[in-house]
């Protein structure tokens, strides 16, 4: 699944990896910006919001965005490290199980009368260890991450359910549960948005503005070339899996506090929403291509659609059809754009040749 690297469409990937794709630079900056996948998905987000505000009663109210951000917070958080992992050509399907595990650990320790910050600290450590196990199996043992994380998906969920059994722990300090659902004073924006924003900036800077981030793209585009240009592939991947475990545990803490209920089956199936958001946001499953703004917009598109449809009185999970269809459409569109660019490229080259060699 990883050998065929698709032609890339003049995105940040190429800019970071030495810009082989010169034709992408043949047009003015604003055009390049507009034709990128990220721009398309952000445009889609804007259109969906505008249409929903205009046609769905009650959608335009600010409280909609409060609920929406609270609902999507775990997906937004985990999609950050997931983006980096998928850009290296790997995947982590165990994130939702890591959330459940983190929730169980907090529940268990709260039951044992630990102070909440200490319990949360342990949950974060457990998350990081879980990520490290994935990382070690992928980098040291050399196993495919898809198989490894399908295994740990079952393993971490099983441990989470085994730890708590039939109990659901609900005795959390009101200070912390209130904090999870609180808003930034004077607005209706949930406080957790600050955490998301800070982490988004951290991951954004890490990915787009550091040598480490350029290494991530290099690994996804060509592992061999990455080795020769001095990228420590194994170390990079290991760090990313640990980060994914850590952020998943954080999302698990938020989830537990928001609902005030620690259960082993919390957040089951959330990994699919995360992967869908990342891919919808324009990240290539083959690795090497994608950017964080697109991913955040992808997650929000899913959230806005879900909330608009519920408000429109759709009784059950129609959102699944739409998420699925959008996902399929978005990848087909990518292939289609790439194909267009190829045909245009070869047409351009031909024309240049007929114009005479001197001009090139």
């Amino acid at each position: 699944m990883t050998t065929t690297t698709p032609p890339t469409t003049g995105s940040a990937a190429n800019a970071a990896s030495g810009a082989r794709n010169y034709p992408g630079y043949g047009r003015p900056f604003w055009q390049r910006l507009l034709l990128r996948r990220e721009a398309a998905i952000i445009g889609l987000l804007v259109v969906v919001i505008v249409v929903a505000s205009a046609t769905v009663p009650h959608f335009a109210a600010p409280i909609t965005y409060n609920f929406l951000l609270l609902d999507m917070a775990p997906v937004l958080l985990i999609s950050l490290p997931m983006t980096l992992i998928i850009i290296t050509g790997e995947i982590d399907l165990s994130v939702a199980s890591a959330m459940g595990l983190s929730s169980s650990v907090i529940g268990l320790l709260t039951q044992a009368h630990w102070p909440f910050p200490a319990a949360a600290g342990v949950a974060l450590v457990v998350g990081a260890v879980g990520g490290a196990v994935n990382g070690l199996l992928v980098t040291r043992v050399g196993l495919p991450s898809l198989a490894v994380t399908i295994g740990t998906l079952a393993l971490y969920r099983g441990v989470a359910q085994g730890l708590l059994g039939t109990t659901a722990v609900t005795s959390f300090p009101a200070f912390w549960t209130d904090l999870a659902t609180s808003t930034i004073p004077g607005t209706l924006i949930p406080s957790v948005t600050i955490v998301i924003a800070v982490l988004a900036i951290v991951f954004g800077v890490l990915l787009h503005f550091t040598p480490f981030g350029r290494g991530i793209y290099a690994i996804g585009l060509s592992p061999d070339a990455a080795v020769f240009s001095g990228v420590k592939i194994q170390r990079t991947k290991f760090i990313l899996f640990v980060l994914a475990g850590l952020v998943s545990a954080l999302a698990g803490i938020f989830y537990t506090l928001r609902f005030g209920s620690a259960r082993g089956d919390n957040a089951t199936g959330l990994e699919l929403s995360v992967v869908a958001a990342v891919l919808l946001g324009g990240v290539s499953i083959f690795g090497g291509r994608g950017a964080l703004p697109g991913v955040l917009a992808g997650a929000l598109v899913i959230g806005v659609l879900a909330s608009a449809l519920r408000l429109a009185g759709i009784t059950s999970d129609v959102i699944n059809v739409i998420t699925g269809t959008l996902l399929v459409l978005s990848v087909i569109l990518t292939s289609f754009l790439a194909w267009l660019q190829r045909t245009r490229l070869s047409a351009g080259r031909k024309r240049r040749v007929t114009n005479g060699p001197a001009s090139s």
Binding site: T55, H58, T166, F259, D265, A306, G313, D317, L337, L340
Partner: protein, 343 residues
Amino acid sequence: MFQTRHSVRLAGVATLAAAAMLLAGCAASGGSSSGDSGSKNYAITFLPKNLGNAYFDTSDAGGKKAIAEFKGTYAEVGPATAAPDAQVSYINTLTQKQVGAIVLSADDQKAPCSAINQAQKAGVKVVTFDSDTAVGCRDLFINQATADGIAKVEVDMISEQIGDSGEIAILSAAANATNQNAWIDIMKKELAADHPNIKLDDVVYGNDDDQTSFDKTAALLQTYPNLKGIISPTTVGIAAAARYISTSAYKGKVAVTGLGTPNQMKAYVKDGTVKEFALWNPGDLGYLAAYAAKALIDGTITGKEGDSFKAGTLGTFKVGADGTVLLGDPFKYNASNIDQFNF
């Protein structure tokens, strides 16, 4: 070159337009839910644990009947699977739509509470039925039967069917199910106190999933070869257990009882797999919950102990301790009466 770039943009525009149309279409079909009969907002929405569950279909139909009687607007929404957090976004949405009341069977005791608080602040009344949340967080709980009453009727039935001695097991719903766990605790005490010859071997969990319950029944019968009876205090579980036993060598040897709906159990009562099982009438439960919601909207009751209200054809009910209204005693179904029921 110009042409190709043009079609790129066309493709983008087409996708956006498709998404927009999708939304607009759904919005059009949604319609408005704020019914205005007189000055009171009788828009009452039922939010079951999950859709596609025969039990809730019946209870919500009872609610619909009641709401039609007092000319309110009935609606039913809900998640496809009973995940702990699944109901929260539906409660939020209903709050935004400013319905008069939400009638909810809670998937989790605590998870919906902060959403319910927000709903109440916005003036929405919240009635729970079938499965309660924490006491402080809703206005009223319509209790189908007391936990003691349910546990007692199940223990009585199994002891009668197996001759008050032998090994039994319990096939429950989800491991976290509030109701079932409370009943099982009381059943254990009841067994220890009054039925010393009955031994409870195990409690297993079928997650209210037909297939899982079916497989768990198979596992139980193998794990405990001396098993004489299975109690399944959930409608999905008892039907699955009865179906497994009706085609196996255990038919007639292992008794199955618990809580079930007549339509699901008719075949097994008639073929002799099941002698007797119990349930309240879920239709009455939904009917009562709808009238309780109406009384709250009218302001004739507030949910405090001692309040009383009239529930259509069911008569008058009184609010008990902890804001609980009791429907009545569970009803026993057997070959002599099962044909009179259709739900």
